[in-house]
């Protein structure tokens, strides 16, 4: 446990050492927030659509932004380069579990991400007006959902980064993942706006847990029963992916070639 804590602390220090990169790395998520806020402000000015009013959509987009920032520091690029360079061999000889070590590293930067989210959400609310907070069961479910989002997002990034054992081209894999996650998580547009079959498929996919589930619970668009089901789906995917990732990792190690060393 102590070694994992040390890894988490080291990850946070590395992130703070490259502060500018850290801020600029948030760019894509921030730009999307600004663009979508502007679009929906115009679209929803007249009347609500699909039951979304402008204040609700604003809250939805802010939750989507927070979900997009969480677990994004340092993560995939570093791991990908270590695999492609063969430096991963050094990770293998360390007496820690590879998957848990990477998870510890993504947890390390979490408090920095939360601080950044706090700033952006605060500024946005100051400029566009407040949001209604969920109460009671909704609040508890929202917190549970956001907590599950952390391992879920880590696992989706982790599994897709393991693709580096098969292909040299991490960039393409990353772009494809970002595109799929953006659409199927509901980060780009709430799932109810999508065609029914696509929305249903996305709802049950692991991606919905990355934005749609916490955002819908936050808005109170699902009642306690439905919310509980959605969070249970999130939890189910975390377990499936955690153990599935171990299988992928075992297969990946058999592919590993390291030159020299």
């Amino acid at each position: 446990m102590r070694s994992y804590r040390a890894l988490a602390r080291a990850a946070a220090r590395a992130a703070l050492a490259y502060r500018l990169s850290l801020l600029l790395g948030m760019g894509a998520v921030l730009v999307q927030l600004v663009a979508l806020l502007a679009v929906w402000r115009v679209v929803l000015a007249q009347s609500p659509i699909n039951g979304f009013t402008w204040p609700q959509m604003r809250a939805y987009l802010l939750v989507a932004f927070a979900a997009g920032i969480v677990v994004s520091i340092l993560g995939d690029f570093r791991m990908a380069y270590r695999i492609l360079d063969g430096d991963v061999a050094l990770d293998l000889v360390k007496p820690v579990d590879y998957q848990k070590a990477r998870f510890a590293e993504s947890l390390g930067g979490l408090w920095i991400e939360l601080a950044l989210i706090g700033v952006v959400v605060g500024v946005t609310l100051a400029f566009t007006g407040g949001v209604d907070l969920p109460a009671g069961a909704g609040a508890a479910l929202f917190v549970a959902s956001m907590l599950l989002l952390v391992p879920l997002k880590f696992l989706i990034v982790y599994v897709s980064t393991l693709a580096c054992f098969w292909t040299q081209n991490f960039m393409g894999v990353q772009w494809a993942r970002l595109a799929v996650v953006n659409l199927l998580s509901g980060a780009l547009i709430p799932l109810v706006y999508l065609p029914h079959w696509l929305a249903t498929a996305a709802q049950w996919s692991p991606f919905a847990g990355l934005t749609s589930t916490p955002a819908l619970i936050f808005l109170g668009r699902v009642d306690a029963g439905e919310g509980l089901l959605l969070v249970a789906v999130q939890l189910g995917w975390v377990l499936v992916l955690w153990f599935g990732a171990r299988l992928v990792w075992r297969a990946a190690l058999r592919r590993l070639t390291v030159n020299g060393g």
Binding site: S21, L24, V39, V43, T167, G172, A179, V180, L183
Partner: protein
């Protein structure tokens, strides 16, 4: 002429080496096409519920997405080397370029070829084409010529902004082009009609970093939609201005360059 011929030969060398990695090309092409498909699904889902966004239809916004994709594609396919400039500066590797009898900026930009640009050029052109096919533009020879001029200017603007923002690395001395990349992402805002943004953002996208001249202004002029549509006619001027500023920034930066001593 000789400059252009040499440029293509420089790129050609990289192209041949890329052909060695066929799966790489397929993965990148697949990923970029997927990104555009996601964009189109998003726009279709949005415009299924609202007929117009500040007077802009699905097809006209699709054209703006297409214009940004096309400009990005040309930048990647023909000028991808710019994105390695930060790394070269940080390592002090620019010396080789300085002693060759060819413009340094062109050597830098031809030092890599982003094959993903090809799929963005294709998808971007298709999106612009689909948008035009659904518009009521009255095509005269003069309008066709103007449209081509606007398109070329739009691409020049994108490439110039890429060069200028990457050349900022001469001052930042960071090994990665983080600043240029962040500005590139700001450019994504220009995929939507400028009129939806607050005044400060309009000023940034219209004047400071004129991304709006890549997509919004020329398309507003062509489709004759939105307020201040005549601004689209300034696109060629904006292109000349951007290219000039980019060249200036690069020259200034190059003077600051310090070799690692090879």
């Amino acid at each position: 002429m000789r400059t252009a011929r040499l440029y293509l030969r420089l790129l050609g060398a990289h192209f041949r080496s890329l052909l060695e990695y066929e799966t790489d090309f397929l993965i990148l092409a697949g990923a970029t096409v997927l990104m555009q498909v996601v964009n189109i699904v998003f726009l279709a889902a949005l415009f299924a519920k609202v007929p117009v966004l500040n007077g802009w239809t699905f097809w006209s916004v699709l054209m703006m997405f297409g214009a940004v994709a096309l400009a990005e594609g040309v930048g990647s396919l023909f000028f991808d080397g710019m994105w390695n400039l930060a790394w070269h500066i940080n390592r002090g590797e620019l010396d080789y370029y300085l002693v060759r009898p060819y413009p340094v900026a062109l050597q830098v930009s031809s030092a890599a070829l982003g094959i993903n640009g090809l799929s963005n050029i294709v998808t971007g052109s298709l999106m612009i084409g689909a948008g035009l096919a659904h518009s009521a533009v009255d095509w005269t020879p003069w309008r066709v010529g103007l449209a081509v001029l606007l398109l070329i200017s739009s691409v020049v603007i994108k490439v110039s902004i890429n060069l200028a923002t990457n050349a900022v690395c001469f001052w930042l001395s960071s090994p990665s082009p983080m600043f240029a990349f962040a500005m590139h992402q700001v450019g994504d805002l220009a995929r939507f009609p400028l009129s939806i943004y607050p005044l400060a953002l309009k000023a940034v996208l219209g004047v400071a970093l004129p991304f709006a001249f890549i997509s919004y202004f020329p398309i507003a002029y062509l489709l004759d939609t939105g307020p201040s549509r005549w601004l689209g006619l300034l696109t060629p001027l904006a292109a000349v201005y951007c290219a000039g500023v980019a060249a200036l920034v690069f020259q200034r930066g190059l003077r600051r360059y310090e070799s690692a001593g090879n």
